[in-house]
């Protein structure tokens, strides 16, 4: 299947206009020795019917199941309006909105997204998105270090391990030292002084990787007392429907993952990094910013702004190299948040109550919670012989949470379970009953 069209007569006329006899002549600039004589080693082209069959077969080899896994990627209900609106081709086939006059749709929606993120995080400025939560964190750290000049950061060990790994990669590339601030019983207590000493920032996640809600105020104060920025990571932003905005609890930068707003889990991508900060960081922020302005007739309009921060203008002195970001995912988030609106509080409470019911159900069957801390919609329980139990649960059609023992030896047989509105009360009870059955 080719998406080109042109009859032979067209080709002949075009070649004549150019002044060559064959298309081959147009490639004369490439040394003959390097030009391929035969075809590429690719499978035969497929028709649409054949491709659809093949892809349905591949999709069928995945089993999304009833999902009780969270850990940075969250299965939430996507209201029908989100797909219906985001699949309008004027949105998804559009280019980056550099020509503002023909991109007001994209620009307005991104402006709304920025507004939603600021309101939920309690921050002054949010950008148009980063690739994902982990790279949003990495770039937040680079922003902090760029402002402070201090090439050390302190990272809570309750941070998502994948985020830690990505941060290690970016810090290695930039000679930034990472010190670990050790938590206890699933949360960060006061970070040790030697972790914070001379650090540009303290990085904490709330709710953290173990699902526990951190005391962001106390930790931010500790950071500030040591002259460090407080960077707060949020991987499940539905928590902001219920929990205090980090910006009101002393955070200087809030970053993380907004995938759960209107985007499917999609095997981890595309994701939706968010980055928000105090007004003082505005000109140091990576990524695009959409601002309000007027047009030549004085009519309100939106445009990309403060572009002198960006790579296409500042090049090696840009605040980041980021160009393409996660535009359509941010649009989906804006539509989702428009539909959800202030209902986010009710939905957050629902998530929390569902998690509580699941936790209680499991507990009553002998599967004790690992941590005694406030949580939002994720919690860990101890299931003896967890790996084998999880295998049986998979056969029963579950994605049965995440085995913490895969990440931390000391949490062998501890399973991190996430509950959202996608798994209702009956699903909870069924799951707990299945766990009990298989853990015998």
């Amino acid at each position: 299947m080719k998406y080109t069209c042109g009859a032979d007569a067209d080709r002949a006329a075009m070649l004549a206009s150019i002044g060559v006899r064959s298309v081959d002549e147009l490639f004369a600039g490439i040394p003959k020795d390097f030009r391929l004589k035969g075809g590429l080693d690719l499978p035969e082209a497929l028709s649409e019917i054949e491709v659809m069959r093949r892809m349905e077969e591949l999709a069928g080899k995945n089993r999304p199941g009833r999902c009780f896994a969270g850990a940075g990627s969250y299965v939430h209900y996507l209201p029908a309006a989100v797909d219906a609106l985001a699949s309008r081709s004027e949105f998804y086939t559009a280019y980056t909105p550099y020509q503002a006059e023909v991109s007001q749709g994209t620009l307005t929606a991104i402006f709304e997204f920025q507004t939603f993120i600021c309101r939920l995080t309690g921050m002054d400025v949010a950008n148009a998105s980063m690739y994902d939560g982990a790279t949003a964190l990495a770039e937040s750290v680079l922003m902090s270090v760029g402002v402070s000049g201090k090439k050390t950061v302190a990272v809570a060990d309750t941070l998502h391990p994948h985020y830690r790994r990505v941060l290690e990669t970016y810090c290695w590339a930039n000679d930034v030292e990472i010190r670990t601030a050790h938590g206890e019983a699933g949360v960060m207590m006061t970070p040790a002084a030697d972790a914070l000493d001379g650090a540009s920032a303290l990085i904490i996640q709330s709710p953290n990787f173990f699902g526990c809600v951190e005391d962001v105020s106390a930790l931010s104060s500790a950071a500030h007392a040591a002259g460090a920025h407080s960077i707060v990571v949020v991987t499940e932003p539905h928590s902001l429907g219920l929990l205090a905005p980090p910006g009101k609890s002393g955070a200087d930068i809030v970053c993380g993952e907004a995938q759960s707003f209107g985007n499917p889990v999609g095997f981890g991508g595309p994701a939706l990094g968010m980055l928000a900060a105090g007004a003082g960081f505005m000109r140091r922020m990576p990524g695009r910013l959409v601002g309000r302005t007027v047009d030549s007739a004085g009519k309100e309009a939106y445009a990309l702004t403060l572009q002198t921060r960006e790579q296409h203008i500042r090049r090696e002195r840009a605040t980041s190299n980021i160009c393409t970001n996660q535009g359509l995912c941010a649009l989906r988030a804006a539509i989702y948040l428009s539909v959800l609106g202030n209902g986010i509080r009710k939905l957050a409470i629902l998530n929390h109550k569902l998690a509580a019911r699941c936790k209680k159900s499991l507990s009553s069957k002998g599967f004790r919670p690992v941590f005694e801390r406030p949580y939002f919609n994720e919690f860990a329980v101890k299931i003896p012989g967890a790996p084998a139990v999880m295998k049986r649960l998979e056969e029963e059609g579950y994605v049965p949470g995440v085995h913490l023992g895969d990440y931390y030896e000391e949490y062998e047989d501890c399973v991190l379970i996430c509950c959202t509105e996608m798994t209702g009360p009956d699903d909870m009870d069924g799951f707990a009953e299945a766990v009990a059955r298989f853990a015998k």
Partner: protein, 474 residues
């Protein structure tokens, strides 16, 4: 156009909340809770009308042609969208065990294989979420490679025509950029290059074909020069569309490259993403790829983390999977013949369009182009600038070409029609550009105050930057 917050007033959320009866949960200390939220309360119909109206103010590939050089705004096939919506893909959690995700892993493994067949590289990582992310990962691979060899090389060379992401990516890895000038013919100046390649140069990054739309005739010589000094050769694959099925990037001597799936491989631009920037490497650099790598064993596919020389993770999971999926479908549909046809037709279309425009527009470098070409506003009458032309073309129902890039051509107008435009569309676009030239001659004010028929007139970018308003407030 009002924002959604101004449509608030319904008094309730539009979300279809289930009313399950649940017990109260374990209490959360009140100091950890918020006092309520203040987002919006709009009805579903108002929301639907709002975003529908917004979409109608947008231009898209489905609306009309984007002659944007270096962006390859080709048609986004609808079959890709249908596949990317299959619940077996969208609903799969990234931490589902390997037994539950064989289909997804097969797609990632398969796409790497297809991209290797097209480019000659050994393996691709699909983790980079955009071209710039792929470049960054590539520079990290270069850094790791020399670290392993115990060599301290601090410089990466880029041509003066390089895209801004190149030096920005280099800087984000602690290297210093040094610019290599181009000749008036548009090739890298070999004499100048020879004088600056030394033991401190880790690599050179080159877009191929280059950002003038020209194949640098010195490419193999550059490769030899760099390799002789122990340096690496990176290909910025943004312009890969011109080489599809014609030449393999690895064969030209490049050691590593990134590809933009949202350019060459038809995945939609989304108004600024999500894209995907796979990083491909030769044999020698394969151990340095980001983790995890998708491998195929006798019992299926799995994610491999035991890669001691890897640069590490660069993404929270495995990259933009649903974007990679679309590219996989696209290549499956095209096959070898279709891939070659895309490359050839892209170059044919660009040369044809150039032949229609060259009498009326200045061509700074007069050579047969590849998939794109660069004109500029030199000798444009009436004081009409490249920016004016870009704004006026919007009135004719086309998106503007890429403007003011590459930097080495003042007032650059970079045009890339892609292979999916027909001869008729190309001719109509050329007519529009020529009409604008006539207007510049007879009534330049029309051009200088354009656009006139778009949803908003020319926006005030200066005001937007001088008084930044980055969120809505009542």
């Amino acid at each position: 156009m009002p924002v959604i917050f101004e449509k608030s007033g319904c008094g309730r959320s539009a979300y279809p909340m289930p009313e399950w009866k649940l017990d109260d949960a374990d209490p959360i200390p009140p100091e950890l809770l918020n006092d309520g939220v203040d987002l919006v309360e709009a009805g579903e119909l108002d929301i639907v009308r709002h975003y529908t109206a917004l979409s109608r103010m947008n231009f898209g590939v489905d609306t009309g042609m984007y002659p944007l050089g270096s962006c390859t705004m080709k048609y986004n096939p609808k079959i890709n969208e249908r596949v990317a919506a299959l619940p077996g893909f969208t609903g799969l959690h990234p931490l589902a065990s390997r037994g539950l995700s064989q289909g997804a892993l097969e797609v990632l493994h398969g796409l790497s294989g297809l991209l290797c067949a097209i480019t000659g590289m050994r393996r691709f990582s699909l983790a980079p979420a955009a071209g710039a992310h792929g470049e960054l990962a590539g520079v990290m691979v270069i850094k790791k490679y020399f670290e392993k060899r115990g060599e301290r090389r601090g410089v990466i060379l880029i041509p003066d025509s390089a895209h801004g992401t190149n030096p920005a990516s280099v800087a984000m890895c602690g290297f210093e950029t040094r610019e290599v000038p181009s000749t008036s013919e548009g090739d890298v100046d070999m004499e100048k290059l020879r004088s600056i390649v030394d033991q401190n140069v880790a690599a050179m990054m080159l877009t191929s074909p280059n950002t003038l739309g020209l194949f640098d005739r010195n490419t193999p010589a550059i490769a030899n020069l760099l390799h002789d000094k122990g340096a690496l050769f990176y290909c910025d694959g943004a312009n890969l569309n011109a080489l599809l099925g014609v030449v393999r990037v690895r064969d030209l001597g490049f050691d590593l490259m990134h590809i933009n799936l949202h350019k060459t491989f038809s995945t939609p631009h989304g108004g600024g993403g999500p894209g995907s920037g796979p990083l491909g490497v030769c044999d020698e650099l394969e151990p340095y790829l980001p983790v995890p790598v998708v491998l195929k064993g006798k019992d299926g596919f799995h994610l491999e983390y035991d890669r001691p020389d890897s640069i590490g993770r660069i993404h929270s999971f495995y990259g933009n999977f649903l974007v990679a999926l679309r590219a996989f479908v696209y290549i499956s549909m095209l096959g070898s013949e279709g891939i070659r046809d895309a490359g050839e037709t892209a170059v044919l279309n660009a040369n044809y369009l150039l032949s229609l425009l060259r009498k009326d527009y200045n061509l700074p470098v007069d050579r047969a182009c590849m998939h794109e070409f660069v004109l500029n506003d030199k000798n444009m009458p009436g004081g009409v600038t490249t920016n004016d032309i870009a704004k006026r073309i919007l009135d004719f129902g086309y998106h503007a070409p890429t403007v003011y890039f590459p930097l080495l051509i003042p007032g650059a107008i970079m045009i890339e029609p892609t292979e999916t435009e027909t001869r008729e569309t190309l001719e109509a676009f050329a007519e529009a550009m020529i009409a604008i030239k006539r207007e510049a001659e007879t009534s330049p004010e029309t051009v200088k105050t354009a656009p006139h028929t778009t949803p908003v007139g020319r926006v005030d970018a200066v005001l937007a930057a001088r008084k930044p308003v980055l969120k809505w407030e009542p």
